[in-house]
Amino acid sequence: MRKKIIGIVCTAALIMGLFSGCASGSNNGGTKEAISSTDMAGEDTAASSEKVTIRFATNWGPGDAKYDYFYPLFEKYAEENKDKVEIKLETLSTEDYKTKIRTETASGNLPDVFTWWGGSMIIDMVDAGLLLNVDDYFTMTDKTSKENFDSSAFGYYTLTDGTYGFPLESTRPVFIANKALFDEYGLSYPKTYEELKEVSKVFNENGIIPIAMASKNGTPSEFFFSELHSQFKGAEEELVNMGTTRNFATDNALKTAEAITDMINQGMFPEDTVANGDWGPCLQLYCDGKAAMTYTYPWMFESMTDDAQEFSECIPVPKLDGATNDPSTFVSGFTVYGAVVNKASFEDPAKQQALVDFIDFLTSDDLTLALTQSGMIPAKQVEYDMDDMKPIFKKMIEFCEGKELTSVHYTTMPDLEALNMLDASLDELFIQAITPEEFLDKVQAELDK
């Protein structure tokens, strides 16, 4: 009898455990870091009538270049406002973060505020009415206005009927050359493709990779492709109008793909373009002196060694054969990242003021200036002290001054699947598994679907 009672108690405990497990399973499983231990917002609101909970998700977590600049200010804000609002910070690395947000979108469990990309990444969310039109926020705040941002900054988050994100980060690429290596071999920076070929020959003979450029999941090759594409006549119009024309497979795109194939054949890139793909490995080759040039973006500046920042000089991408636009007169420039707000949360009267305050914080000059120190170019107009900036940042700003800004496929591609196909096909082009024509066909086929 006693054994049976013990058995029943154990069984009951198991069942209770199971159901409590199920209950906690409804929470967000992807959270890596939370500033508090409380659970869902609704439950919290019920527990304390005044205090609300906001979920803020971002990829600016530990390990990200912005974390060290973002987190102290975030912590300060959370502490100062702890009586009114509890902010749950949910961070993951970029790829996991994308999966988290897509899963939470599908399960109807979007965070209240989250950092996110614009363009093709928000189209489905906006169509489903999930994101706040930022004008609703600007009518409620006296801390900032649209005029405080760069005039073109909102374009990345603007769809036909409104603007659905707050631009935080703008960007410019840098094509950098290792001055020490060029001096060592008595070479000048190449201005034309012919000169680039000559320089590459010398570097290859000495066991140095001419350009640290590779392709893993389209990184960083996709941006380099756009940069080269901009050298051809009418390229900018093609990109700007891609949303309506849905035309990728143009003569300019073909010339660019052919140029890349030729660069591969000339041995300008690392041989193993998958293993050396992604921002980190490419920059590593360059910083280690194994490559003479590379093409990178400010979000990698935090990973650049002091030496590399010193020996680097920003130079124009050499002009390709048949190019009409002078690469020394333009540079890619675009808003690349920002924050979006869950419309349903904003319309919840209990949360609205807390959300307005939190967006005030996200778009504040203080946070913007702090993030700038990580190498970020702010989308908001703020005055920053150049002396606080990294040497490579100063060189980049100096180099980009007065240059015309051009678009990139990353922000103008009208369809997420086509953008992913562009990335995947670039990987194939880089290992020469497909021809330039096949590359164009694959991306165009996705746009034609």
């Binding site: 897509r102 599908a106 193993d272 373009t273 194994k290």
Partner: protein, 292 residues
């Protein structure tokens, strides 16, 4: 009669937790996936019922068939490598009992390392600029074997399969050592007295005695291969294109990268179907062998 009923109720309570867990976390998600696979759904907008539309798309998709064959190759390689090497090493260790525990631990070590770490480690090893594989080949005078392991179509898939096939050999060694220890010694000894040599004892006495262990190991191996994801994802993101992707990676890319949850669910249904088919076929084959 009353005692029987009480026992049944008691047994029911013990089964209930497992039944509930399986229902909540396995059966219901599988049914949901099957339902999603019949819809066009980007995870945001309303679902549109399209019947077998997603399956037709898959059949017409060259990417699906590339990943299908990649997965099949992985199944064959892992079966061949993990089961045969696992059995062989386990038998060698069993016969040389000295240091068995140490060797078993050493062989088992890779199994407990996260596949992500193994994938990352091998992607560094493979790197033609900084990796050790090509350097090792050069050191032993095999420069001509140097490859761009992850960028050469000819060896790419093999390079991605290899770490996975290697990592789990230890698991099967451990299973087979346990199986070998359960083989009655009298049987082996009597065969020895009858004049059976080592090879004959292994194939005619020991292997038949381990039939059920081998069957379970093969099922574990096949289902493990069918749900493979980490190694391929970490080393190459399944690319270039989908050239080193398995069905699991293709499903992830489709559902979570392209936000096509309907098509992604259809892929996951085909993975489950394949696992069921493989399991049934393996059970039928090993069942017949065991009977004989």
């Amino acid at each position: 009669m009353i005692k029987q009923r009480k026992d049944n109720i008691f047994a029911f309570f013990f089964i209930l937790p497992v039944f509930a867990v399986y229902t909540c976390f396995l059966i219901l998600p599988m049914i949901s996936s099957a339902f999603y696979s019949l819809n066009e759904w980007n995870g945001v907008a309303d679902k549109i019922f399209i019947g077998m539309g997603n399956y037709k798309t898959l059949i017409a998709s060259s990417d699906y068939w590339i990943t299908f064959w990649n997965t099949l190759k992985l199944v064959i390689v892992t079966l061949a490598v993990q089961i045969s090497l696992g059995l062989l090493i386990a038998y060698l260790l069993y016969n040389k009992m000295k240091g068995l525990k140490i060797f078993r631990t050493i062989y088992f070590l890779p199994v407990v390392i996260a596949p992500v770490a193994i994938g990352l480690m091998f992607s560094l090893f493979y790197n033609s600029e900084i990796g050790i594989f090509n350097r090792l080949l050069e050191a032993v005078g095999l420069d001509s074997w140097n490859k761009n392991w992850l960028s050469d179509q000819g060896v790419l898939l093999g390079a991605v399969i290899a770490p996975q096939a290697w990592q789990y050999i230890g698991m099967y060694i451990t299973i087979f050592i346990a199986a070998l220890q359960s083989v009655p010694e009298e049987l082996v000894e009597s065969a020895q007295i009858d004049g059976a040599n080592n090879r004959q004892r292994f194939f005619h006495i020991i292997v038949p005695q381990m039939g059920y262990f081998i069957e379970i190991s093969m099922i574990l191996c096949v289902t493990g291969a069918l749900k493979s994801f980490d190694h391929s994802w970490i080393m190459t993101n399944g690319g270039p294109g989908v050239r080193s992707a398995y069905l699991g990676v293709y499903m992830y890319k489709t559902a979570f990268v392209n936000s096509d949850f309907g098509l992604g669910s259809a892929i996951s249904v085909t993975i489950v179907s394949l696992a069921l088919i493989f399991t049934l076929v393996l059970k039928a084959i090993t069942g017949r062998i065991n009977k004989e």
